[in-house]
Symmetry: D3
Subunit: 321 residues, 6 copies
């Protein structure tokens, strides 16, 4: 039996990633208060899986909720949003929380999210059990989004990818990396990846942002990221892959010129924000050569896609920008 | 038998409003010339119902048409737009007419609409029979939209809600009230409701506008209004409810923090303008505790939703912003 | 001796309007609190003149102040802004007041100004003595600027020119007319003058707004208005003239294709808002064939220009757009 | 048997154009590398048909591909983009190629497309066999799109329709005509058709561009063009028809006020760019009175519509703007 | 005596260009109708000089006027704009004409200007005597500005620099070159120079456009061009120099990283459009090593600057971008 | 003799700050390469003063230069920009450097500036002698400007004010504070001061940014900051004062509602960016009750103003927002 949620590639499908046949796995109203559940993060936890979920309620207030699953596909999500206790700061209010990521480092699960503090910035918290959560200092000044932690420390320093932005529907955005000795003070900011020229790879020519927690492979750190093209009728979000150097993770070794997933299904093309696939988490099994990606669809529902790690790496190397 | 069009709440549905199972009730091409029929107004008339309908023709010229129905659901709409005769003005031309509302006051049916006079403003007319219509002076200078009359007079003065705007796809908009002794001169303008802070109720954080004619309840004047969120892929229109003070109708007693209806069905999410539900009229029966709402969907078709008045009031009070 | 402030046309000057040699007549800091004094209105009063002045203070709060002069050129301006008492409304607060105009009708001096009520609209007040002022209902819903009353009534109705706008630095604007039986309710809105095509008269191709109170001449109502061109480095405001029909004042008989005054002096080209001449008042003597215009310069100081009424009319007719 | 692809008008359909029942005829991924195949051009060739197809690959690089068909409906598209050889220029690189049109003149097939040379402009090439293509000088300086050649020469001069634009999602656009003695130098530029006033024909009030190659009829040159309305949620592209004077083709004789086709089917309303129908080619048989139009749908797939030439002409004349 | 207008470099001045001490040489109102006279072109003619001048009149209509001078500094400008006769076209109307350049080729003086034909494009005309002018076909489709002809032909082809733009205050702009066998049809369009990166040369980072007619020197074609920086308070125009290859004039050999002239004098910093120096013409004497540049200042007046050709070349080579 | 540069208040001047009579003290071209010298920082050094100066060169490249003065008014500025050596980072390149501030902490002079690293952010360096400079890690991710260090540490942590922004001419901006244990990693970000409501203090309603290094007074930390109003003709920068709590410096005790200095002199109103006064440094003598402020004028030159500390404090308290 597979160690992670899994479905084999459909026949007649040659794509490096393929969708779960029962997508979306989480519907927009799967908890009573929700307008939409998407852009959510999942990790292995005990015998099953735990997750932090973005649920916008029917006032369209954005917040994060904990949830649990035995198979990674069927989820029980709390009906109340996560309550934070003081971690390394007393400033634990926020105007809104959205787009969480979760990663286990050393002894606990770290959660990062887009945190409303006079505009969007990167919120940080941790939990040991997905019941009690502790909020830390915001990593950065506003305006920032898509903060994603590495699962390991580099020379004793935590490392985070993020995408500096402005205070609106930012029409630009590149991926940067920052380091911290203590999850409180951050520095050594480096530019990692910038948008691609329109003629080379238009789907990622407007803005890009880190998606899933980096996974260490033989080739380096594998990440999925979202790329955006600015069409005459709005932004279209697709999924790309990149491989960062194992020891110098601000160096990009390979980066996919084609997307790996783009909005082509009705639940990705139609919803609160049409034409969005947005990866926030991935489960993987190196030994089984399997990857299961969780992604938000149309800013409305949560869906899954699968792929073989080796094939993803090969694809990324072979089609590198 | 119900006094207004009605369909019981589906099982397993807890929502305060629910959709008609045969939505949309009017299709985009239900008259030969039409590109779309939506944002239309309905009142009880004789033994059945009459209405004024926004039909954009295939040149996408916007105009209003009369129609009749015995059950409020199946409609016969005139194939020619309404022709106006001189009411209290000789200036009865207009560049376009759209988004009508209809209300009976004293002895006649008053129609208000968005009237093209060097830009959008509020047109006023009346009819006794939905065959002969008389046009009055525009209520306001341009630029204005969503003029909705109260069904009664306040100290001898007509009262109108409206939304001052600019000359394009206005990215702002609040609800104001004005008074008139004679349907010709208007004044005593008051701000009634402004957009909500993004973090409190994002679905109504960009602009709001009055929808249905106010209904007098025990708690005050109940209205449905539309609220708009400015997403990265355009405006999304939802429906909220508010209760205004019976005697001082520019005072808001309650206002729904969550929406009551948002675009979640394909005919609301896909069309000439995706992601729009836009209420323009409601039939009600206080004694039966029933409400039937007419709303435009995706600026393309006309749909209906139902609810119990008491439940709507309770919801509005309990979830007040 | 001249009945109005006057200075003869300089030799070698052929212009229809000429500047006062001691311009500006009011400096930016002529009262202790002021950042700037401009766009102000003046009328004959008792043996001399009274006026209402826009003084922005050093917090750049906009307000209106009363002032008096014996010669119309040297002014004593109150150090405190005008305090309003209740006229035909109790709603006498405003977020800001600017760009006043003053006109005597029947028995009192009426003041109109741009009034801050959830955005700019037209405020109305009156005074008998320029010491005690009474505020009335705002004429219109926001957003509006440059409300100018006619000095007479038309069939018992007050008449006002205004310029509907949006809530920012409006990049459009035409002149409309509205009527009121009672200075409380307004209606019968008519479009009077629109911007000119760029190739015909570029200085008035972006927006136009009424300036001085209309003066009745043999040819009709003579007004000065401001016209704006949108250059690559911002708006440039110039002065034009128009003659409206005596009895149907929404009919334009003549309108100057060339400007009569444009920013060419350093105090008009340099200041808080460069390149602005903005007329708000004019004194005139039909019998002496004289006109003295007050205008704001660079949104910073107040200046004067002179002309012969007959020459202005001739110029306007001869160079009509 | 019909000389062009054909399907009879469905019963109960009165529209002047009707869709092919098996639309879309080309899916987004009909060649392995493609993200989408749309806005493509088709001509009779040998016993069947040949075409030039816009295929955006999965890096969303835009390029043109050759294809062949026996019935005009089922297509074999090359898996590699067209490679250009030097025609009348050595400058045969381009940043991207999209939206091709094809027309036979004298002895060869001419292809025009939107060519990336420091921004979009009109690329020109020719082929005799759809295997070997020769690129010529760009017709114009950037920025331009939608270049469409006439199938004949006027006094020895080639004639091209085009739409000057800017370097982004141009919010304006009219149709111009230019002439060339040699497919190298172009001049005698004339404005042919401008956008319609919003109140007359809103669907074509934002921008318009030539679509299909002009067809000579008894009434003159018949073309289909696209028209765009700027809705609050983006551009919506519809199809109109126009008839140009046979000898003075910059004179418009008739132009449809209503559209002939607008996005109403799911594959036109949902896709990479929602709400787009975009005609690029038409096959016709004068003797059979038949027309088969190829159009891109939602910038994602290729679809077909049919009509009778005589009915299209009659419709255009009868409903002329 | 100098063969061109000349004034020696002031002491203590090390700049490569220096201003004429009596600047501006033409004031804004030097003809009765003018609002401003600037961006004008001058050539040697008979015993003195002739020129074509941009005079905006007091309606701010833009037009071009002929003028004559014996010393190149004091000018007699016609009080009526140039009237065009039919050259190689009958289409000789234009909505406006501005920013002329003049060059002698073979047997006549060619004039190019920004011509209003459904927006700005490049107008072409010629004269033998500066009294009778003949208008030719516009060189390009709209939108274009700053067309400048070379004084010689390349392989029998006329050559023109121009700057494709959009229909407003274009925030971008590069210099292109086009060729024509006959001044009627144009093609072989090549990109010559693009804006500089902000960090390398911010004064020319927003847009650039050709200024003076190219002068053949030992190093190649020397031109002055304008460069624009987009400051938070608008565009600032400065003057740069470039040397193009003698035989392949679309190849840039050298291009000045620093500007040679920027707005620092009051008549350049203050006026209808502040902070503009805009070169349109230069007289030169190779044998005397002298250059006299005519430039518009603040879009209001005309000024001159001088320099030694050898020093300008040396400066350009030494400080090349 | 005064310990800092000083000039007594002019007679008839009641302003809390007054200008130096010989302003500007540094002209735009005071070093051979400079286009402008402004927004520069000064500190006491040895027997005189040292400073770091923003000099834009004639390519309009922005860089910082060291300079020295014996009296604080007459300056010798190096002709070459500052060269950085590696401080706590090896990444010492930058695309540009501008708007420096200097402060002495513990044992060295710290310099902060706007540093070009994929957009503007806060650069940090230090020097002991103003000859040798060492560059440290950027404090923050882009996009940020106006980083100002406190002269002391708070519980062992350095403290910096800054203004998060976007990548262009940011139309918003508030003042934040961040802390660092080591000048390498920064955190504990707090919002300190936001823009004022338009109706309360329009001169600071668009954006604000820290100006001078905080000075510890009896009332707390006194700072001068710039505030911006967005006029219809661009940004206008004025100077305000604020007093922050001594121990909790993110708490604002007082903040001036009126400005203390606004652009009213020609050298402040006219220049590369009109209407700018921008404070970057202040010398003070508590015992003499004197303050000398250095400010950039019109982004072109450097000027000075003086005031009595006690009067500034009193003014700020008395006129607090």
């Amino acid at each position: 039996m597979s160690k992670i949620p899994w479905q084999e590639r459909p026949k007649n499908c040659d794509d490096v990633l393929w969708r779960y046949s029962e997508n979306p796995i989480i519907k927009r109203n799967d908890i009573p208060s929700s307008n939409s559940i998407f852009n959510s993060a999942v990790v292995p936890f005990k015998d099953g899986y735990a997750g932090v979920f973005r649920c916008d309620n029917k006032a369209v207030q954005m917040n994060i909720f904990a949830g649990f699953s035995t198979d990674g596909i069927h989820w029980e999500i709390d009906h109340q949003p996560i309550t934070m206790k003081a971690g390394n700061t007393k400033m634990i209010d926020s105007d809104y929380k959205y787009d969480p990521r979760v990663v286990f480092i050393e002894d606990r699960y770290w959660v990062t999210w887009c945190n409303g503090y006079h505009g969007p910035t990167i919120g940080i918290g941790y939990t040991f059990d997905f019941k009690e959560f502790f909020q830390c200092e915001n990593a950065f000044l506003p305006f920032n989004r898509n903060g994603v932690l590495f699962p390991t420390k580099f020379n004793g320093r935590y490392a985070m990818l993020s995408r500096p932005s402005d205070n609106g529907h930012t029409p630009f955005g590149d991926i940067y990396m920052s380091f911290s000795p203590d999850m409180k003070y951050w520095g050594e900011h480096r530019c990692v990846m910038k948008v691609a020229p329109f003629e080379d790879s238009a789907w990622q020519s407007c803005k890009i942002g880190a998606g899933t927690v980096p996974i260490l492979t033989k080739e380096g750190w594998l990440i999925f990221y979202h790329g955006v093209i600015n069409t005459c009728n709005g932004f279209r979000y697709s999924v790309g892959s990149a491989i960062l150097d194992e020891n110098e993770p601000d160096k990009v070794k390979y980066r996919s010129q084609p997307y790996l997933l783009a909005p082509t299904e009705l639940y990705e093309q139609v919803g609160d924000v049409p034409n969005v696939v947005f990866p926030c988490a991935a489960l993987h099994s190196i030994e089984e050569d399997k990857m299961a990606i969780y992604y938000g669809a149309a800013d409305t529902v949560t869906a899954m896609a699968f792929g073989h790690i080796s094939a993803i790496i090969e694809f990324t190397k072979k089609n590198s920008l």
